[in-house]
């Protein structure tokens, strides 16, 4: 999952605008309580996602992740819904079923739980679509520059840049270590095999990352890095950005008043 170079309106927005919009969405995800409100929010986000012209592979990944999120939240909430009142629609273990019944206190699927799960999964899915849209449409260093411009310290920004830059290398390395383990006869079977793999994966991965980190630190020092920098990339907050901010603020307020339970 990374930046996709396209020329859509959403790609052209200033990263600060996108950060502001994400913050508004984050608030809405928490504040909105009714299924209708969350559904409206989710639809808007999904529309934005498709508006940014995602590659087919990204759409598939998103559907897959959302599918898992929905199934798990709905099922788990259906079973373990806690609040009263609740209506059982399918009883699996009745309360009076000897010791199993006593121990579990009865096991059933509740209608309110299913609804609650659906609402929760809407929240999860909204967050997923949102983060995917942002990552897909913003050049990473612009996002960091945006964060710095709104007051995140330069050093934090640099740490994030470097992590993004080096994360793929670490993942590649982990893959090679796993192959090297297989080639030396370590076979993965069951939970214990998994632990064995981890036991022999983490030490070389961590030690090599530390070595790598030291090399990076030296290289940064000789490139005069001290935490203060003149950026040649500049951000431009255009009229489109103002319009986008105004419209999203308006939508946010609208959703809060109509579905947030404040009225």
């Amino acid at each position: 999952m990374k930046f996709v170079n396209r020329n859509t309106l959403f790609h052209r927005l200033d990263p600060r605008t996108k950060i502001a919009m994400s913050l508004m969405c984050a608030c809405l995800i928490v504040v909105l309580r009714t299924p209708e409100g969350l559904l409206v929010l989710f639809s808007i986000l999904l529309a934005t996602f498709f508006f940014a012209r995602p590659p087919v592979a990204y759409v598939k990944t998103l559907m897959y992740l959302m599918g898992i999120a929905v199934i798990f939240t709905v099922i788990s909430q259906g079973f373990f819904y806690y609040f009263e009142p609740k209506t059982s629609i399918l009883t699996i273990v009745p309360e009076n079923w000897g010791w199993i019944g006593k121990m579990t206190g009865g096991l059933a699927i509740y209608r309110e739980g299913l609804i609650y799960g659906a609402v929760q999964s809407l929240r999860l899915c909204s967050a997923m679509v949102l983060s995917m849209t942002i990552v897909m449409t913003t050049y990473p260093s612009d996002l960091i520059l945006g964060l710095e411009r709104i007051g995140v310290p330069e050093k934090v920004g640099f740490v994030v840049t470097v992590s993004i830059r080096f994360l793929p290398a670490i993942i590649e390395e982990a893959k090679r270590i796993l192959i090297a383990q297989k080639l030396r006869g370590l076979s993965v079977k069951g939970v214990r095999g998994g632990f064995e793999v981890m036991r022999y994966l983490l030490p070389p991965l961590i030690i090599d990352s530390l070595r790598h980190a030291r090399r990076i630190a030296l290289a940064a020092a000789v490139r005069a890095y001290t935490g203060e920098r003149t950026h040649i990339r500049t951000l431009r907050f255009s009229r489109t950005d103002w319009i986008a901010v105004v419209i999203s603020t308006f939508i946010t307020l609208f959703l809060v008043f109509f579905y947030g339970g404040l009225l």
Binding site: G185, R223, R229
Partner: protein, 455 residues
Amino acid sequence: MMIRIENFTFAYPDSDKPALENISLEAAKGELLLVRGKSGSGKSTLLYCLNGIVPHIFNGEYSGRVQVNGFSPGDISIREISKTVGTVFQNCDSQIFMMRVEDDVAFGCENLRMSKDEILRRRDEALKVMGLWEMRRKETFKLSGGQKQRLAISAIYAMGPKIFLLDEPTTDLDQDGRKDFFNILKQLKSEGKLIILAEHQYEGYMPLVDRIVTLDNGRVVPSVYASDGHPDSFQGYGSLADIIISCKDLCVGYEKGEPVLKNIDIEVRRGEVVALSGRNGSGKTTLLKSLAGILRPSAGCLTVLEKVNPRLETLTGNVGFLFQNPDEQLFTDCVEEEIAFGPRHLGKEVDIEKYLHISGLYDARSSHPQTLSRGQRQVLAVTSILAMEPEILLLDEPTTGLDETNWGRLFSLLHQCVKEGKTVVFTTHNRKAAGTASRIIHIDEGKIVSDEIRK
């Protein structure tokens, strides 16, 4: 004199032996000074003393004087020094910070807080001089090894230093990358820059070198040229034995795009020592990986040890594979355990003592593998694969970064296993290493260009 070192001695904090001892050295504008020496001889430390990493980052005890362009590196900050002294390290990957080529070239200048126009001017000039202009918008992780090296040098060049310290900058480069680097050195020299080059494989650069400094155990010793003989040669091995690897019309590719290897036909006989040579990105590592079953053929037929288009799991134990970076294959916390790891998981009874002896690691048998030197780690990684007593040994660039001692150890290990009737296939872009093989297969753009059996 731009650099003047007088009676300089330096010891790292946890070490009882000085890393540099009584060094005296002078160098002037426009000179190219070659620093030679085994790993651990003090080459890198010498460079660290000039760019301020010693004493600012690695502090220790020191005596004597270091003067660089009229100042002493201990007295001013590394940032200040970096305006005069530029450093390029061996591993180009850890020197690239930005996602886009042009952003990375500007990074150093941004840190020096130059004006925006100045940064842009310097950035564009560096990109043009170093021949990166065409790929300035490219993402840095998509560059080849040689291009990354050029980017690392450009990024330093843009900062405008008078002195360039190059710490084994071409270890990972192929022949073409080295030719490129030769031209970069020429360019820098013509601009009157002082260059200090620490390098194992320096033969190609000799025409540009003004002086040689040889370090041994932290001291300067009289320079002697290394001989060019091939005492490690395997010529004439394995020409009549049975075929154990065969590729027919083999194509291998990654998920998308054209296959990396196209219609490869090779037969390898038991006991052969085959060198796969070629540029970075020519497909030699891809071929090696498919022989181990790490990559599967997309078309054609590959037979290894009578298994057709084998999977990794079916070859485990019979085929040993060495990755380029030894650290990715050392998992355990002691040398002895590391060698025993493979045999134990395969349920083979193996004489570990024997392998400790032939690898020269007997005295280090209870050390943690990660505390060994890079060369020793490489030898250990090879040994722990040999200990599984595989029929076929596949090695990806086994000589990268080895000094003469560990080079000798590696080849005596390989001799040992060829004598036992094993087959070795290795990739290399080092001519000396390729010259030892009984057969050299040259690959370019995924195709076999030449296949020479040497007698």
